[in-house]
Structures are given as structure tokens and as C-alpha cells.
């Protein structure tokens, strides 16, 4: 009655919605419980009042949210989204799409379930501790890997997170038990010797190296499926017992889960005799003792089986014991009829899984039992395995697939492929080739294609500078999904959306790119050009260096007398002052333990001239005619035309890098230099000029030569990636130098196309994240207008605007002053 009334009112309400949304609602309602229908309509209505695209997103994710968090969770999750939607439509849509950190995080919090991904590392470390070898934890759907343990991707069996986590833990502990207690130490020679001794096997076993010992052994049995099932039951039983015995802490939870598994076992009524027999064995293996109604004819075999099983319920039981028990049980089970026939008499049997009296069964016991029952030994009925015990996961008997090896070779292949063609050369580029002699532009580049790419990039940026905002309709990557890793050297990062005050998950893709090598000439030329500065910087650094190992004077105790203090002291004494005997000095050694990453802005905007005057006189010409620019760039590269004072931002960046390298090599800190540029969120490129682990060499010098302006400046992901690189270092002090023109701008780096604030806030957030991770950042720019941006980006963090390279020597020791302290 109530249901009918509800259905009518729901239909009436649906008429108030636009037809497409009403259809979507109907579809969703088929997927979710009836009890939430009315509330769902209310929520959809409320959302519709704010934004109709948001409703569609909401309806799309709604069944998933209900599945994870239940109706109550949906309510809280939705309310949060509606509130956000009221503030900003874009953020709200993103939220309902489950595309933001806050949205995903809240759902995770509301859901009692546990996702494997959130605890994978924890479980992996736990397993590593238990058995000492790296054991990957894989989702249960993945292909076979015998060195792994398998867990479901998501568990929500229980109403709370800790209980669901415990389920994972018990599952992992059981599967790791197979490794710890020797399931995989099965040796076929031992097992076959056992068979020979029992008179069951005659002649040698075929040598077959393609499969595991265990599988080869099981295949020796006529009914290998039955043999496998029995082996699994017996071995799982042994592992369960040993795990509970050795890990008493988890014992209680383990037993609870076993009891649950026991209560979930299927009824025996519909089984064949053999199936019933196996089913009782599974129950026995769950260390359940109990009274079960079974076919009366099975009583004797089951009592015997129970006693055979007891053999593995012992602290000393090994895989050999399991094998022996399994052989015996097979002898018994293979003779029990497998055909489903009517069973006349049912009688309760009481079995105890751990009998007290020690028992060694012999094959003759089995024969005796079977003789009485007079079963036909050959029964051609198909074999049905007993239902799986879920918490026991997967006990892999098959040979290990070489997944990891295959993967690693795959990685290498892809890497090389990737490195050789970073970007497909377009036809436009070829046309450009006719007009301009780009070959000479980056003369020493080995790969001609790469040269085109660079030329193309610089050109396209020059053609459509970012200051003329991109048309909004092209701005489609803004409305998008989270990205995925598409090559081994690419990394995903979240991006901060200041309007939503939330992260957009896996929003940017950073690719590590090789940088072509030019000639070391630029490096040497810069050193020559600034010979005086180089000397000055070195002088300052040499002064800086001993400061790290300075003498501490006037101590009560030390390495030696501090003569001045001693003379003072003696004079004081003679004069009758009771002055303090602080007359020693000591050298305090401060170990430098510093890693520095330099992030070099290679965006198109660095093509600009430092000096406003120069910019006004030359800039406009280039902006309108790229050919002039390229002709200039080409001769500029060869150093023919460039008057000394005609410096672009990138030139100063390169020169300062040269001087910095010189200085850093003097004091021996580990440092990495990375150039960055971007084209949309999918393509943030990080050029490896010198990796942190790499030693300084001529190749590094040559790479500096190839630094040329490229595309946009998406600073956030570049900073996050450099921070990640620094995090991999073990140094105590980690520093990030951002050398830029200070203007983050990129295709769709912002909600409405080019929105400076968005980019600035994301960059600022990336720097804050770096600080939280113990990385100190400093921004350095040669752009005189940099103050405007850097002030906002850096906030209370340090930044320097240098007028010209001449001021670098004066500034460097200051910078390094705080690096050392």
C-alpha cells in the first residue's frame, strides 16, 4: 500500500524534472535501494536548482556512493557537494564527478569499507616483516604470480573500517603463512619417495621443468582435481593452525573469521557422497568441531578422515605431513562415489578437529573401512570442488608467471621508444624547414627531429602568446577526467584549485624528458666571459666553505690552547683578576649534507629581453614576425649578432646556471638541474639537464647549450616533481631553487582559460607542499617585473629579483648562507 503510494508520488515528482534528467533518475533508481528513492529525488531537485550539469554528474556517481557509503553517507556527501555548488558551479561539478580530493576523501571517510589501494603499502610492509622477502600484494583479479598474495580490491563485509581491515589482515596472514610455514617448499622427490614407500607409485616420475614440483606431483594422481582439492584443504588447515599458534595476537580475530566461514558453508543435503565428504573435510579444516547431519554411510570414512587430518594440526607439522595426509585421504576419497544419488539415511555425526590421541593411519585402515562399504573404485562422475573459503585467498599451485620480468623488459623498450621521439613531428614543421635553416639552430643536436620540435615549440608560442587568451571553447582539458600514467617516465600530480579550495586529483602529468646535447662551448664561453665573476664567486665560496669548519674559541677545554686567550688569562692572573680559564679552542666540524634541485623555467616568456628598453625596441618586431625572430635566434645562438647587453631572460638563466654549477662543484653538494615547460596539464615536461644522481660531465655542459624557450609555465607540477625527486635523497638539507621569470601561465592553467590567480595559487600551494616535505624553496628571477608575482607566490618564503648577472656573485653567498645553516 505504502509502496504504491510512493511509486505514484515518485512518478509525479519525476514530471517536474527535465525529461533527460528524469530518464537518468529512473535509471539510477533501478540501481539503488528503494528506501533512498524519495531522498534521491529531493537531492536531485535541490541540485537542479543550482546547476543541471551537476545533477547529471551526481546521478552518475550516486549508485557508487550509495554502494560505498550507504544512504546515510550519500546524504552527508551530497550536502557537502551542494554547499560547494552554491559557491562555484565548476567546483561543484568536479566534486560530484568525484574528481576532487575533498570529494574522494569524504567518501572514503563515510564508507565503512576499506580499499586495498589505501592499505596496500601497509600490508606489503607487514608481509615483508613476517617473512623477510618482498611479496607483492596484488588485487585478486590479476593473473597468477606465485610470489604474490592476493587480496580483494575492496572489503565492506563489516560495518566498521577496523573490522574490514582485520579481514584484510587475516587474509594476508593466512596467505603469507604458506610462505612462512613452507607450503612452497614442497619437493617432489620427497613426496614420491613417500608414495614408493606406501607402495602406491612404481617407476620414476617424468622430468618436466616447465611446471612446479607440486603440480607435477598432483598430476600423478588419476583424479588430479580431487587430489588438488584435498591437498588444498589439508594444507590450509595446517597453515591455519600454525598461524593461530604462532600469532596469538591475531588468534581471536582469526578464529572469529573461521567461525564465520564455517557458518557460511553450504548445506550438505544436495551433495553427492564424495562432495559431502569433502565438505565435511573443509569444515574440519576450519577447526570446527560440531555435530553435522551426514549420510549415515559416510560415518566410518569421516571418522577416519578426521583422524588423518589431525596429523597436520600440530606445531611440528610440515609440508611432508600434509603430503602424507593428503595421500591417505585421497585413497579414501577417490573410492567414495561421486555420482549424485538419493541418500536414504542421514545421521548426525560429531567430529572433533583436534583429537587428543596420537594416530598414525595406515593404508590398511583405509582398506578396512572401504572393504566394509564395498564401493566401486571407479566412478566416472565429474568432480565438483567444495565451495571456496574466502579468507584463505588464493593458494597458487601453478608455476609462477614471469610477470615482473616481462614488465621490466617492457619498461625498457618503452623507455627507449619514448626517448627517441618525444613528440611527433608535424607536417608544419617540415614546411618550416624550407623557410628556416633550423638545422643550424641547435647545431649539435644529434636527433634532427628533436631540433624541429624545439623550433616548433618556440615558434608556436611566439605566434600565439599566452597574453592573448586562448579561446574558451578550446579550453576542453579544463573539463576533464583525472589522468593516467601513459609511459614509464611520466608522473601524475594533483593540482590546487583555489576556488574550490581543493585538489583536483591526478590532474597533471609530468614527463621526464631527455634534453638534446649541444656543445660544451656555451659553458666554456660563459666561464670565459665572466672570468672575473667566476673568480669572485669562487673566492666567496671558499670563504664560505671554511666557515662550516670554523674554530670555536674561548672554551674551557679543547684541542689546544688559544694563545690570545691564554696570554690574556696569564696577564689577568698576574694582575690579580680571577678571570675565567677559557683558554682552549676547538674546531667544530659541520658536515655539509645538502641536496639542491634547480628548476629552470624554459617557457616561451623567457624569450623576452631583460631590459625594458630592449624589449620595447626589439620585442614587438619579433612578436609580429617569427621569421625575423628565428633569424635572430639562429645568429644569436652562434653568438654573432648578440650584443652583450641584449640578454633574454633565458640567457641569464643559463649563464647563472653555469656560474652556479661552478660554485657548487667547489663545495661539493649534490645538485640536480631540471628545465621545465608545459603545454596543457597533460604535458608538463621536465628536461633532465643534470639529474641529482648524475655526476657533472661534459654532457651536462652540452645540455645547457640546448636550453631554449619552449612553451608554457605550469610551475605547480614541476615543483611537485622536483620536490619528489628531492624526497628520494637522503640528505638532511633539501633545497629547491626556482629560476624563472616568475609568471606561471599555461594552456588551461585556470578555470576560465587563462586565469592568473589560479596558476599563482597552485604554484604557491606547490611551494607550501614542498616546505611541508622538508624542502626549502627559493625563487630567483631576472625579470624586473617579477616582484608582482613572486610576492604572491612566495609569500613568506624567500625570493630574489636580480637586476643582472653581475649581482649574482654578491647574492649567491647570501643564498648559500642560509643553505648551510
Amino acid at each position: 500500500m505504502t509502496d504504491d503510494r510512493d511509486t505514484i508520488s515518485i512518478e509525479q515528482t519525476l514530471e517536474n524534472f527535465p525529461p533527460t534528467i528524469a530518464d537518468e533518475l529512473r535509471a539510477v533508481m533501478r540501481l539503488v535501494p528503494r528506501s533512498v528513492h524519495i531522498r534521491l529525488l529531493d537531492l536531485a531537485e535541490e541540485a537542479l536548482g543550482l546547476s543541471s550539469p551537476a545533477v547529471s554528474e551526481f546521478l552518475r556517481t550516486c549508485p557508487f556512493v550509495i554502494e560505498r557509503a550507504g544512504p546515510a553517507g550519500l546524504e552527508s556527501w551530497c550536502q557537502e557537494g551542494l554547499e560547494l555548488l552554491r559557491k562555484s558551479e565548476g567546483s561543484g561539478i568536479e566534486y560530484f564527478r568525484l574528481g576532487t580530493f575533498r570529494s574522494a576523501h569524504l567518501l572514503e571517510k563515510l564508507s565503512p569499507g576499506v580499499e586495498l589501494s589505501s592499505i596496500k603499502k601497509l600490508i606489503e610492509t607487514y608481509c615483508l616483516a613476517l617473512i623477510g622477502g618482498k611479496t607483492p600484494v596484488l588485487p585478486a583479479e590479476l593473473p597468477i604470480d606465485r610470489h604474490a598474495i592476493f587480496l580483494p580490491e575492496f572489503v565492506d563485509r563489516y560495518p566498521s573500517k577496523p573490522e574490514n581491515f582485520t579481514w584484510y589482515k587475516v587474509m594476508a596472514t593466512h596467505q603469507i603463512g604458506h610462505f612462512e610455514f613452507g607450503s612452497y617448499e614442497f619437493r617432489i622427490d620427497k613426496a614420491t619417495t613417500l608414495c614408493h614407500n606406501l607402495g602406491l607409485l612404481h617407476g620414476p616420475v617424468d622430468g618436466d621443468d616447465t611446471t612446479t614440483d607440486l603440480l607435477r606431483f598432483l598430476n600423478l594422481f588419476d583424479n588430479s582435481k580431487l587430489a588438488t582439492d584435498i591437498f588444498t584443504i589439508v594444507e590450509d588447515s595446517r597453515i591455519d593452525f600454525l598461524t593461530k599458534q604462532r600469532y596469538r595476537g591475531i588468534g581471536q580475530d582469526y578464529s572469529r573469521i573461521q567461525a564465520e566461514a564455517l557458518s557460511l558453508r553450504p548445506p550438505i543435503t544436495s551433495h553427492s557422497l564424495r562432495e559431502a565428504f569433502l565438505e565435511i573435510m573443509v569444515r574440519l579444516s576450519l577447526q570446527g568441531s560440531g555435530k553435522w547431519l551426514v549420510p549415515a554411510i559416510l560415518h566410518a570414512p569421516l571418522r577416519l578422515a578426521s583422524r588423518i587430518m589431525d596429523r597436520v594440526i600440530s606445531p611440528e607439522a610440515s609440508i611432508e605431513d600434509s603430503t602424507e595426509a593428503m595421500i591417505h585421504l585421497y585413497q579414501l576419497a577417490s573410492r567414495i562415489p561421486a555420482s549424485r544419488s538419493r541418500i536414504d539415511r542421514w545421521e548426525a555425526i560429531e567430529l572433533n578437529s583436534n583429537g587428543d590421541e596420537p594416530f598414525t593411519s595406515t593404508l590398511s585402515d583405509i582398506d578396512e573401512v572401504l572393504r566394509e562399504l564395498q564401493w566401486d573404485a571407479t566412478d566416472g562422475s565429474p568432480h565438483f570442488s567444495p565451495a571456496k573459503v574466502e579468507y584463505r585467498g588464493i593458494f597458487r599451485l601453478e608455476p609462477a608467471h614471469e610477470i615482473r620480468e616481462a614488465e621490466s623488459t617492457g619498461v625498457e623498450e618503452e623507455e627507449t621508444k619514448y626517448a627517441s621521439s618525444p613528440w611527433p613531428a608535424s607536417t608544419e614543421t617540415v614546411e618550416m624547414n624550407d623557410v628556416l635553416d633550423i638545422g643550424e639552430l641547435a647545431a649539435a643536436t644529434d636527433d634532427p627531429e628533436e631540433t624541429h620540435v624545439f623550433g616548433m615549440n618556440a615558434l608556436s608560442e611566439q605566434d600565439t602568446p599566452f597574453s592573448e587568451a586562448q579561446p574558451e571553447q578550446e579550453d576542453d582539458s579544463n573539463e576533464g577526467e583525472s589522468l593516467t600514467v601513459d609511459s614509464p617516465l611520466s608522473y601524475l600530480y594533483d593540482e590546487w584549485d583555489f576556488r574550490a579550495s581543493d585538489y583536483r586529483l591526478r590532474w597533471c602529468r609530468v614527463r621526464e624528458m631527455p634534453l638534446a646535447e649541444g656543445t660544451p662551448d656555451f659553458f666554456e664561453a660563459t666561464l670565459d666571459e665572466y672570468a672575473r665573476l667566476v673568480a669572485e664567486i669562487r673566492g666567496r665560496f671558499e670563504q664560505l666553505n671554511p666557515r662550516a669548519r670554523r674554530k670555536v674559541k674561548r672554551l674551557h677545554d679543547g684541542e689546544d690552547f688559544d694563545l690570545d686567550a691564554l696570554v690574556d688569562f696569564v696577564i689577568g692572573k698576574k694582575a690579580g683578576h680571577g678571570s675565567d680559564a677559557k683558554i682552549y679552542w676547538r674546531r667544530n666540524k659541520i658536515e655539509r649534507d645538502v641536496s639542491v634541485a634547480f628548476l629552470l623555467d624554459m617557457s616561451s616568456s623567457t624569450v623576452e629581453y631583460i631590459n625594458r628598453l630592449q624589449r620595447d625596441s626589439i620585442g614587438p618586431v619579433f612578436a609580429s614576425d617569427y621569421r625575423t625572430y628565428f633569424e635572430w635566434l639562429q645568429s644569436d645562438h652562434q653568438g654573432k649578432l648578440r650584443p652583450k647587453e641584449f640578454k633574454r631572460i633565458i640567457d641569464l638563466e643559463k649563464e647563472s646556471i653555469v656560474l652556479l654549477i661552478r660554485a657548487l662543484e667547489t663545495i661539493g653538494d649534490s645538485y640536480g638541474i631540471y628545465g621545465f615547460s608545459s603545454h596543457g596539464r597533460e604535458n608538463v615536461e621536465l628536461y633532465m639537464i643534470k639529474d641529482l644522481e648524475e655526476d657533472f660531465s661534459d654532457r651536462v655542459k652540452s645540455r645547457i647549450d640546448s636550453i631554449i624557450p619552449q612553451r608554457g609555465t605550469r610551475m605547480g607540477p614541476a615543483i611537485r616533481h622536483a620536490t619528489w625527486k628531492l624526497e628520494q635523497q637522503e640528505s638532511k638539507g633539501k633545497f629547491l631553487f626556482l629560476i624563472s621569470d616568475g609568471r606561471p601561465e599555461d594552456h588551461s592553467y585556470g578555470r576560465e582559460g587563462l586565469e592568473k590567480e589560479y596558476a599563482i595559487h597552485d604554484t604557491r600551494m606547490a611551494l607550501l607542499e614542498a616546505r611541508q616535505k622538508g624542502v626549502t624553496s627559493l625563487c630567483l628571477t631576472f625579470d624586473q617585473e617579477g616582484h608582482d608575482y613572486l610576492g604572491t607566490i612566495c609569500g613568506d618564503m624567500q625570493y630574489e629579483v636580480l637586476a643582472d648577472i653581475e649581482s649574482l656573485p654578491a647574492c649567491l653567498p647570501t643564498l648559500y648562507g642560509w643553505l648551510t645553516t
Partner: protein
């Protein structure tokens, strides 16, 4: 023993610090025999091994065993001699650090009123008193300090005292023992070959499960099953070494955990404070080890 406080503390002159009660030590291999042989042949010994595995305890035990005083005489005049001619061997320990100078070891002039007074450093005193001098974590000392022990560790057995223009010939009972943990020293801080090749090296590792169980049981007083569980926890935590931990859980920490348990702290909590939080600061690793703890302990 030179002075005895009001039951609060005891003060010893370094060369008179003699171990009078047998320290508890369970030999793992033949280290006792080796050390005895080295001592009688005056061969310096290098003890290698991770922290808290029993290097210092071994040395205390050896000092006691080699000196084994049948009658301990407590007097300043150093007549601590036993009836069978053996004498108690003092153990002088110096913890090395990077600011440890030659003067810190050998001695220096100190001002006293209007004049100066020479004060022997611990090494000089050990050399004179015929003590076992134990330089703990020798690699931490500066290279110029390390070189100082060279004349003492070959056939010469002398200690030059530059400031006084003297040379001290070592007392027969003197033996130099150094310890070194190869695990966490960087290559920068490796021991020079010219130094390390003056010592025989005895390698230590954490004791095997059964021995460690017994050690924990003896030292902390916990019951056998708990001692066994603690030893197993140690074994498991050591599995994480090189992957997530610099050092595994030391026997010392496991004993601390045992002691806390004896004092009534719940086993899981005791392991948390004595083991989990002590060996790692990384939240994720801590959590994983805590899961191991909760699997092992009820």
C-alpha cells in the same frame, strides 16, 4: 672502588672499575675462546656488529672471565690480586665521537692555580694499569685520533705522549678493543685499512631465536612464552632492515620491552614504545610493525 655514596651512586677511578659480578652472557659461537686466545697473545680485537646485539656485554663478560677475581680487594692501592696469581682486569670504555682529540685520549696539561698539572687521559691510564681499553664506535673518531692507537696495536705496544716527550710501554694486561658497526656508516666514515688491519675481527649479529629468547627472559624477567614472542618480534622487525629500516630491533630494545611488561605494561603497548616507536619515525612503517605486534601479542 674508591668511594661509596649513601646508597645512591658509586664513584670509581677509571682504572679501578672492575666487574666483580659475572655478567650474563650466552656465547653464540666460539667468540669466548677466540677472545681468550687473542688476550693471551696480546692481539687487539675489533668487535663488529649492529647496535644492541651484545658487543659491550660480551666485553664485560670477557673482562670478568679473564680477570675472574677470586677475592676482590677494594682499595686504592690496586692490590686487587687473586690468590692464584690472576688479577682483575679493569675495563675502561671511551665512547668515540668526531670531536674526540688525541689529548682527550692521551692526556693534557691543565691549569691548577698558578701552575699546570698533567692529567692522564683514559688511554694512558689503561696502558699503565693493564686494563682493557674499549674504544666504542671507533669510526666516529677523527682520523688523526684513530692513528694514535697504531703504535699500541702492533708489536711495540707503546703509547707516545708527545706533549710530555714520553713513551709509555703498555702493562702486560693491557688490550685494546674497538667496536665498529659497518651497517650505518657511510663510506666516508669507513675505517682505514691501516687501522683495521691491526685487529682481529669478531663478528656479532643478533642471537638466534632460542638464545635471544633466553637472553630476554633472563634480562627482563618475563615468562618464557613472552620472551619467545619478543624474540620473534625482533626477528620480524629485522626483516624490514634495508627495505624500510636502517637497523633492525636490537636485543636491547626487546629486553626493554620485556622489562616494561614485567612492570605491568600491556605487551602491545610495551612493544609500541620500546620497539615500534624506537626504531622508526615513519608513520607507515610504524603502522606495519604495529600490525606485526598485534598479530603476535594478545
Amino acid at each position: 672502588m674508591s668511594a661509596q655514596g649513601q646508597g645512591t651512586y658509586r664513584e670509581h677511578v677509571v682504572e679501578e672499575y672492575i666487574i666483580t659480578e659475572e655478567p650474563f652472557y650466552l656465547p653464540v659461537k666460539d667468540e669466548v675462546k677466540l677472545f681468550e686466545a687473542a688476550y693471551s697473545q696480546k692481539i687487539p680485537v675489533l668487535l663488529k656488529g649492529p647496535t644492541g646485539c651484545g658487543k659491550t656485554r660480551f666485553l664485560e663478560y670477557m673482562a670478568y672471565r679473564l680477570g675472574k677475581p677470586l677475592a676482590v680487594v677494594k682499595s686504592r692501592s690496586r692490590k686487587a690480586a687473586s690468590s692464584d696469581g690472576q688479577r682483575a682486569i679493569p675495563l675502561i670504555t671511551v665512547a668515540c665521537h668526531e670531536d674526540l682529540t688525541a689529548s682527550d685520549l692521551v692526556g693534557r696539561y691543565l691549569l691548577e692555580g698558578e701552575s699546570t698539572k698533567w692529567i692522564d687521559g683514559p688511554l694512558s691510564r689503561a696502558v699503565k694499569a693493564g686494563a682493557i681499553c674499549y674504544l666504542d664506535e671507533i669510526v666516529e673518531a677523527r682520523k688523526d685520533t684513530t692513528v694514535l692507537v697504531h703504535p699500541l696495536t702492533d708489536h711495540r705496544r707503546i703509547l707516545p705522549v708527545e706533549k710530555k716527550g714520553e713513551v709509555i710501554e703498555a702493562n702486560d694486561g693491557f688490550l685494546l678493543v674497538v667496536s665498529y658497526n659497518p651497517g650505518y656508516q657511510s663510506t666516508l666514515k669507513d675505517l682505514k685499512q691501516s687501522t683495521r688491519q691491526r685487529f682481529i675481527a669478531i663478528e656479532f649479529d643478533y642471537p638466534p631465536l632460542d638464545l635471544e629468547t633466553e637472553i630476554i627472559k633472563h634480562e627482563s624477567g618475563v615468562v618464557e612464552t613472552l620472551a619467545h614472542d619478543l624474540a620473534r618480534l625482533g626477528e620480524k622487525a629485522r626483516n624490514l632492515k634495508e627495505y624500510h629500516l636502517q637497523e633492525g630491533a636490537s636485543t636491547r630494545l626487546l629486553i626493554y620491552a620485556g622489562k616494561l611488561i614485567v612492570q605491568g605494561v600491556a605487551p602491545r603497548r610495551a612493544c609500541q614504545v620500546a620497539v615500534v616507536w624506537a626504531i622508526s619515525d615513519e608513520a607507515e612503517v610504524q603502522q606495519s610493525i604495529e600490525e606485526v605486534v598485534s598479530s603476535i601479542f594478545e
